[in-house]
Each structure stands twice: as structure tokens, then as C-alpha cells.
């Protein structure tokens, strides 16, 4: 495993922003995950070498932060918020609906490797709950129908753009 030329350039820029190389651990873990979809074990020694730090200093954050995937998962990782307001607004029903549609349980990946279903804690969009995040896109005001449309779009390779927050008015 190697860093690409572009990645190496980005790393050099990052070095100028921090007084200590260890601070680059999180940015580099993100870099690998954006490229591979997860952070394989071999990335630990790669990053440790690059930053000239002990491998344990890379392994600890890799396994501690919840957004870092230590194993390969589905092409799309669906994170449904299960916290306070979202659960009160019906996130359980959304989670059950996805489980039924995709025929998987929370934490599992579909047989075709397309979708992994996970639960997340507060994603910071309580006003438009229930909410789910897939990669960098936050989908809100979820209903079972809306979820079906989103999953269908993704299956057909459609790329969504983040819509700015827009609050509803209920009756």
C-alpha cells in the first residue's frame, strides 16, 4: 500500500498546518478511508512510516473513532440516527423498514455488497428527523417511501447532492 502522488502533495501541505506530525493521524486515516472505503491494517504501518511515529499511535485512533471502518463494508453505508428526537419522530420504523427492504439486520451488509445498515447517534439534524446519512449526504424528513426512492437511486448509480437544511411546518 502506497500514498498516491496527489495524496503525498496534500500531506506536505498538511504538515505546514500543525507543529507536530502526530496531528496528521486523523487526516491521513480519513484520506485512506476516502480512497478504500475502510482503513485496512496495512495502512497503519504506512501512516506510521510517513509520520515517523510508533504504529500504536495510528492503531489507537483507527479503532477508537466510530466513523473509521476497520473492515470493508458495503458500497453504501447507511447510518440511521436512533437518538432522542429522531426516535420520537419514528426512526425505529425507518430502521425496521430498511431491514425488511434489504433483508438484513442492523450491522449487516446485503449479499450483493451494495448496502450496509448501521445506527448512528445524533447527527445534528433533529428538526428534520428522522434522518440518515450515507457517505457525505444527509437525508432527512424520512418516510418509508422516501427511503425506497433513495436506495433505488443509489442502486442505479445516481449521485445525490446535499440539499441545504429546510425546516417543515406540521399541522
Amino acid at each position: 500500500m502506497e500514498f498516491t502522488a496527489a495524496e503525498k502533495q496534500a500531506i506536505e501541505k498538511l504538515r505546514t498546518r500543525y507543529p507536530e506530525p502526530r496531528s496528521l493521524v486523523l487526516p491521513l486515516l480519513w484520506m485512506i478511508q476516502k480512497r478504500e472505503g475502510y482503513i485496512p491494517e496495512e495502512a497503519v504501518s504506512l501512516i506510521a512510516e510517513e509520520l515517523q511515529i510508533p504504529p500504536i499511535w495510528v492503531e489507537e485512533p483507527r479503532t477508537w473513532y466510530s466513523m473509521f471502518n476497520t473492515q470493508k463494508k458495503g458500497k453504501y453505508i447507511i447510518e440511521v440516527c436512533q437518538n432522542a428526537t429522531c426516535s420520537v419522530l419514528g426512526s425505529e420504523e425507518i430502521i425496521d423498514h430498511i431491514c425488511e427492504r434489504l433483508q438484513i439486520k442492523v450491522g449487516e451488509t446485503t449479499a450483493d455488497g451494495m448496502f450496509t445498515l448501521q445506527v448512528a447517534e445524533c447527527l445534528g439534524s433533529c428538526g428534520t428527523g428522522p434522518v440518515m446519512q450515507i457517505d457525505d449526504i444527509c437525508y432527512d424528513l424520512l418516510t418509508p417511501e422516501k427511503v425506497d426512492q433513495i436506495l433505488d437511486d443509489l442502486r442505479h448509480g445516481k449521485v445525490h447532492e446535499q440539499q441545504p437544511l429546510s425546516f417543515p411546518e406540521y399541522q
Partner: protein, 434 residues
């Protein structure tokens, strides 16, 4: 009268996040007009006079925090903007970052100048991809326009800002966990003292402020601390953003002058409760703040002192409103599951205690509770609160103690009936509103 907009001082025209729009609204004037005329110490004094209290949740006076900064240590000084916004119910920093990022940047630059910061970091939680995108574009615009990376007009000072992305950990919202995260470590929290202002990031004097606090700085220095102090109440000056969600007609982020009556806020800004239902419970400032019953909030106003008098805390301003028909035991199960999941693990009382609490509450909700379970919950919180390195343990105890105190009869009913009286579900919100 509640129309003053200091933070949400833009028209939602889809362009408010751009430099052009910000300049049109008088943006960066403070940097150009005011900074050349004042010394850094004068800015700190102005912020102290304003009385602004930290808007992240702790409510500690910002100017006072700045004055604790260790001087003449020979070490670099760091400014960190805490944009980790993880407190359940809170989504107000997000609005500033996505729709008004230049206000935040101007606030950071002024603050950096005031404390002579070597470098400023904005720590944005990993989940906030869109907010990070918008803030990065704004930073690039600011560099191009010469507000960053170049000497500020009329001064010898220049500064730089770097965004540092989190990776999913509520506990790094705590300033010491946050600093460890910027240093590349797990987000374990540190014991205080030493305080960050003395020995923080990389062991250097560091000031950490919330997004909303920093975004309030341009207004304070433009109009003066005295004017800001005159807004609001005795102990709560200025305006505060409340992000409101739950069983209300108009969820959203609202800016109010401190002291605004809660009843008016609920019925006017929030549009009242859905479906004409009755109010059952209010969580005023994020899930860690104690829950209140309707009789507690009759005369409550939106400020630190009044909410404290009512028995809770203003916290982050992440307000959750719950209507009749909500199972409070089930809601508590959701909350404690969160704290247990987010416990960093270094303190036994928090790590083991939150797990134990979760098991008991799950059992009660599932209809398998025992009568002495309720008092056992209160006994366990006594072993957590005050015995941990950081306030996450205390935060978990907030809902446990208050839910049991205010809704004890519901817990007893679950146990006596050996089932959830609400059928193990929340009210069917989607059915009601659709």
C-alpha cells in the same frame, strides 16, 4: 420584542454563505475599521464587559476565560473553535457554518488577534460534511480576499485557520477530548487543572470557544460590550440560538434575546404542539439537561437563571419538546444507550455505570423491571456524578435523575404492569402529521 438578529443576520436567499453576500451585509467591516484602532487587550476587555457566556453548553463567561490565558510563556498560543456539536437536540452551530460561515470566520480572526493566537483550528465533527465544505470554501475566499495569511489592515498581525475533522465521538465535544483529538490521539478527556488557557493544545496556552460564541464577537466589538450586556437579563446577556425539535409544528433554529418567555416561544416561534396535543415534557438545552414538566415551565424565561430556577439548565440551547402520549421510560432508554455508547471508557464509574443503568432501564421498558430498580437507578448515579475526569458521566446522570424524579409514576407503572403502558412505542408522529 424579539426581532434582533445578531447571528442569523442574513436573508435565506441561498447565497448567504458567500463572501459577496457577507460583504453586502457589512461583513468584515470590523476587521477593516475597528481592529486598526484598538489594542488586543481592549478587545478582551470589551468581551468581558459584554458578559457573553460560552454558547456550547457550559455557559462560562468567555471574556473571563480569555483573561486566564497564560502570557509570556514563550510558547505559541492557539485558538480552537469547537464545532463538534454532538449534544442530542442541538443543531444550531450547523446553521451558522452552513449559512453564515463568514460571520464565524470574522469572529475567529478578531479573537485570534485579541489573544495573539499563532494559529486557529476549527474542529468540525466528522458527520458534518456539508458544513465543513461550506466553511472550507469560506476560508478559501477569506485567504483570497486577504483576511487570512496576510497582515490585517493597520496591524502587524496575521493569522491562519485550519479545519480539523472529527471522526465520530461525542466525548470530543469536551474541550480536553477535542485537544487530544487535534493532537492525533483518541479523544480521551484530560483532568483539569491544568486548564487549557494555561496548558492546552500541545501543552501551550489555548482558548477554546463554541461556534456561536465566536460568531457573536464581531457584533460585540462593533457595538461595544456595554450595549451587548444591556440586552437580555442580569446574568444572561445578548441573544441565543435555540434549535427546537420534537412534537412541535415549526421545528427550526431561532434566535431570541435572552429572557424571552418560554410560553411565547413555544406558541409563537415553535407554532405550538402538533395535533393540538398537550405538553408533557421539555428538555430545554440538550439531552444532558434535566427534563421539566409543564408546571415547571409556566413562568420560565429563556435565560440561564430562569431555566436553572425551573430545575434545569440552558445548556446548548438544543430544546426537545414532548407531547402527551410519549413514553418517558422508552425515551430514557434511548438517551442512556447514547451515553453508554459514547463513554470514552477511561473512568470506571462512567464506563460501567452507564452500562448498568442501560441494562436496568431496558429491563423496565421491556416489562421485566423490579420495584427496587427505580431507587437502584438513583443509587448508581450517586457513584458516577462527581467521580469522573470529564462531565460526560454527570451528563448521563442528568436525565436519569430528572426522569425518575419527574415521572416516577411511569416507571412504577411499567414495573407493576410488567409491560410498557404505551405499547413499547412512541406516539405515531408520521401518521399524525401526514
Amino acid at each position: 420584542m424579539n426581532n434582533l438578529k445578531i447571528l442569523l443576520n442574513y436573508t435565506p436567499n441561498g447565497k448567504s454563505h458567500t463572501l459577496a453576500d457577507y460583504l453586502q451585509r457589512g461583513g468584515y467591516n470590523t476587521l477593516k475599521e475597528y481592529l486598526p484602532r484598538v489594542k488586543p487587550d481592549e478587545i478582551v476587555a470589551e468581551v468581558k464587559t459584554s458578559g457573553i457566556r460560552g454558547r456550547g453548553g457550559a455557559g462560562f463567561p468567555a471574556g473571563l476565560k480569555w483573561s486566564f490565558l497564560a502570557k509570556d510563556t514563550g510558547k505559541p498560543i492557539y485558538l480552537i473553535c469547537n464545532a463538534d456539536e454532538g449534544e442530542p437536540g442541538t443543531f444550531k452551530d450547523r446553521i451558522i457554518m452552513e449559512e453564515n460561515p463568514h460571520l464565524l470566520l470574522e469572529g475567529i480572526i478578531i479573537t485570534a488577534y485579541a489573544i495573539n493566537a499563532t494559529h486557529s483550528y476549527i474542529y468540525i465533527r466528522g458527520e458534518y460534511a456539508f458544513a465543513a465544505q461550506r466553511v472550507q470554501v469560506a476560508i478559501d475566499e477569506a485567504y483570497q480576499a486577504g483576511y487570512l495569511g496576510k497582515k490585517l489592515p493597520g496591524t502587524e498581525y496575521e493569522t491562519n485557520i485550519t479545519i480539523h475533522r472529527g471522526a465520530g465521538a461525542y466525548v470530543v465535544g469536551d474541550e480536553t477530548g477535542l485537544m487530544n483529538s487535534i493532537e492525533g490521539k483518541k479523544g480521551f478527556t484530560r483532568i483539569k487543572p491544568p486548564f487549557p488557557a494555561v496548558a492546552g493544545l500541545y501543552g501551550c496556552p489555548t482558548i477554546i470557544n463554541n461556534v456561536e460564541t465566536l460568531a457573536s464577537i464581531p457584533h460585540i466589538v462593533t457595538h461595544g460590550g456595554t450595549k451587548y450586556k444591556a440586552l437580555g437579563t442580569q446574568q444572561s446577556s445578548g441573544t441565543k440560538l435555540f434549535s427546537v425539535s420534537g412534537h412541535i409544528r415549526k421545528p427550526g433554529v431561532y434566535e431570541v434575546i435572552m429572557g424571552y418567555p418560554f410560553r411565547d416561544f413555544l406558541n409563537n416561534e415553535c407554532g405550538g404542539i402538533i395535533d393540538g396535543r398537550q405538553l408533557k415534557a421539555v428538555i430545554p438545552g440538550g439531552s444532558s439537561t434535566p427534563v421539566l414538566r409543564p408546571e415547571d415551565v409556566t413562568d420560565m424565561t429563556l435565560d440561564y437563571e430562569s431555566i436553572e430556577k425551573a430545575g434545569s439548565s440552558l445548556g446548548s440551547g438544543g430544546m426537545i419538546i414532548l407531547a402527551e402520549g410519549t413514553c418517558m421510560v422508552k425515551l430514557l432508554e434511548v438517551l442512556i444507550r447514547f451515553y453508554h455508547h459514547e463513554s470514552c471508557g477511561q473512568c470506571t464509574p462512567c464506563r460501567e455505570g452507564t452500562g448498568w443503568l442501560y441494562k436496568i432501564i431496558s429491563r423496565i421498558e421491556a416489562g421485566k423491571g423490579q420495584l427496587d430498580d427505580v431507587d437502584e437507578l438513583l443509587r448508581i448515579t450517586k457513584f458516577i456524578s462527581g467521580y469522573t475526569v470529564c462531565p460526560l458521566g454527570d451528563a448521563a446522570c442528568g436525565p436519569i435523575n430528572s426522569f425518575v424524579e419527574k415521572f416516577r409514576d411511569e416507571f412504577i407503572e411499567h414495573i407493576e404492569k410488567q409491560s410498557c403502558p404505551f405499547g413499547g412505542k412512541f406516539i405515531p408522529f408520521q401518521e399524525i402529521v401526514n
